[in-house]
């Protein structure tokens, strides 16, 4: 299907363990820089806790704003990792090998960041922790399972647990490699994490089975998580939220933004860690083709949502839709999200040259996520601004500095998590890479040369 560079095992070990085992100076600068944003993020939470949510831009009709938008955005991003990894693993696509781990780790960190937002968004986060974990057994008070806000943490924590295990199982052989090449405290650290993985046939078998099982189990969870996130809105009575199309619409939107985020991240990894041998234009080509389909499906659902609102001819829905389409700044945002999430990138991805250009893929995929963030804002806030007939209570929403800090800070948290992970663990799976080499090897059978293992 595609050419593969033949790399020796020791070269793979050296290149992929270079960053975890040797610290370049820029790492400290990058970590410090991101740390400043994280500090700002934590301070913003502190201010909200001490002074109350009055420091945000939320008001009476608009009770949910940027924080919930950002929550939905990060849950969306978290979708791609496991989807790409699990689907490609189950379908035994060979090209997945270098990208799976980075994608899975993106899932874990973006999901953990997303899970923060509903918590800090509550009026009393110190009590909200009891909402996620059933509490007050003595008095028989349990969380209300009728509430989508109970389905939500259940789905997210299931997904977070599943994807963390998924990353860990795939990490075991690499931890063993790192253990064998380190001394001192690093050795002790990797030994503890490697759980005694020695590469015996039985261990390999178990590791492979666990990986396949987790892939199969996590796929339904991946679909359910964003469906459930969409029900936070679809279950409500708010005009334009109240739509049955929301679950598939949110899932496909999540895949669109998530796969784009993986493309962006792969480009960054390739540049930062000089992984030209591993992440190749072939990968971007494949993701680009996937994105053309996903993006178009997303556009279909986007228009379906608009049509549903107008088709019902309910005055409440028409009013909100009118505001979205014709009133400043929503008319600008409508155009912006369509242009950035679809009109610019998707036609460009039709060209093979663009798909194979890493710079072009970086910028187009980044653009998609600008559009998708806007789309979430566009979905969530206008319905609250003009809720039903009481024009007396209609109002606008303007984010405050606190909310802007939180949104920017959430990006810093995810980048910091990825950087830290790459510093501690090999971000490209070493064993997968070697396995791929073996599968690609040719052996002589009689006079013919045939692939050692037939895949693809």
């Amino acid at each position: 299907m595609r050419e593969r560079k033949v790399l020796s095992d020791s070269l793979i070990n050296d290149e992929l363990l270079r960053f975890p085992l040797h610290t370049p100076t820029w790492f400290w600068f990058a970590a410090g820089f991101l740390g400043l944003f994280i500090l700002a993020f934590i301070s913003a939470i502190g201010i909200m806790v001490v002074f109350g949510l009055g420091v945000t831009g939320l008001n009476k009709p608009v009770m949910w704003g940027w924080m919930i938008t950002n929550f939905v955005f990060w849950v969306g991003i978290s979708h791609a990792g496991v989807m790409i990894s699990a689907i490609l693993r189950l379908s035994q696509a060979e090209w997945r090998r270098p990208v799976t781990r980075a994608a899975e780790v993106l899932t874990v960190f973006s999901l953990a960041t997303a899970a923060l937002f509903p918590l800090i968004h509550t009026g009393r986060p110190w009590r909200a922790i009891l909402w996620v974990f059933p509490y007050d057994f003595a008095r028989g008070i349990w969380p209300s399972v009728r509430s989508p806000l109970i389905w939500d943490p259940s789905a997210i924590f299931t997904y977070l647990t599943g994807s963390t295990l998924f990353v860990y199982v795939a990490l075991l052989p690499d931890l063993a490699v790192a253990r064998d090449r380190t001394t001192g405290w690093r050795h002790a650290f990797y030994s503890a994490l490697a759980l005694g993985f020695r590469g015996t046939p039985r261990q390999w078998k178990l590791q492979t089975i666990a990986g396949i099982l987790l892939s199969a189990l996590i796929l339904p969870v991946f679909v359910s998580v964003h469906s459930i996130v969409s029900w936070d809105f679809a279950v409500a009575l708010v005009p334009v939220w109240h739509g049955t199309v929301f679950a598939p619409y949110f899932v496909i939107g999540a895949v669109h933004s998530g796969v784009s985020a993986v493309a962006t991240m792969m480009a960054v990894l390739r540049w930062v860690f000089r992984l030209e041998n591993y992440i190749t234009p072939d990968h971007f080509d494949a993701l680009g083709r996937l994105l053309v389909t996903v993006g178009t499906a997303w556009l279909y659902f986007f228009f379906l949502d608009v049509v549903f609102a107008l088709f019902s001819q309910e005055a409440e829905e028409v009013i909100v839709m009118q505001q979205r389409l014709f009133e400043w700044p929503w008319n600008f945002l409508t155009v912006m999200l369509l242009v950035t999430a679809y009109v610019i990138p998707v036609p460009l991805w039709l060209s093979r040259r663009v798909r194979r250009s890493i710079t072009a893929m970086f910028f187009t995929s980044l653009l998609v996520n600008v559009g998708m963030w806007t789309e979430r804002y566009w979905i969530i806030v206008p319905g609250l601004m003009k809720k039903y007939d009481f024009s007396y209570s209609w109002d606008q929403f303007t984010p405050s500095l606190i909310e802007i800090t939180l949104v920017v800070g959430s990006f810093a948290i995810v980048f910091f998590g990825l950087l830290l992970f790459a510093k501690i663990f090999p971000i490209i799976p070493i064993f997968e890479q070697k396995e791929g080499q073996i599968f690609a090897e040719e052996i002589e059978v009689g006079r013919a040369r045939v692939p050692a293992v037939i895949r693809e």
């Binding site: 002074f51 109350g52 949510l53 009055g54 945000t56 939320l58 008001n59 009476k60 009709p61 009770m63 949910w64 509903p118 968004h121 509550t122 009026g123 009393r124 986060p125 009590r127 909200a128 009891l130 909402w131 008070i141 349990w142 969380p143 209300s144 009728r146 509430s147 989508p148 806000l149 109970i150 936070d232 279950v235 409500a236 009575l237 708010v238 609250l384 809720k387 039903y388 007939d389 009481f390 024009s391 007396y392 209570s393 109002d395």
Partner: protein
Amino acid sequence: MPKWGMLVDLDRCSGCRACVAACQIENNVPINTEEIVNQRRGIQWIRIERYWEGTEYPAAKVRNGAMLCQHCRNAPCEPVCPVYATYHNSEGLNTQIYNRCIGTRYCANNDPYNVRFFNYWEPQWPESYYHYLNPDVTVRSKGVMEKCTFCVQRIRRTERQAKREGRALKDGDVQPACVQACPTDALVFGDISDTGSRVSRLAQDKRHFRVLESLGTDPVVFYLKKVDPQHVGDAAKQPAAH
């Protein structure tokens, strides 16, 4: 067990806002200072919505309407709360339990009447006002939702009193602060399960309607339509004109 309900006669409402003031004082509702109102976070458990029709004087008309929690029998705000901070009690009140509330504000989003309020700030009064806070009503902290309770403290007090005196509650015994303060008797409160009560009888009036009834929330606050003096008897005249 009584089922409490209210009736708002829009024809009698003059829009004086005595109900609003009475409610603020009775229920320790934080003062809506200019700053809070500009932040669009005013808390008014009952509010008078004023809408204008027409622009110039003789044609211009003002429409006042009292809006308060409708204590819906099928309340959209209740099932969405993850911690049962809001639920329906046996007397038909939609109650808010401040201690349980964690402030997800989902109830406020799902409430089509905009009658649930969030404490964005720690409520504050001028120093001397603290002596005037109603000891029967919890002062809410920042981060919790609050809403009209039909003055549950008055209901309980009257019930206790009736029990002490060994008699049943009479119609009109219980009066929320807004009802008590209304100078034009536009607000009527009572037991809607008792067909003989004043509120039940008035709710049978042909002018009756309920707000956003199409949503199926089944409110227990009934409204009586305003009678427009210009149009009195229009319905009777119309067939003759054709």
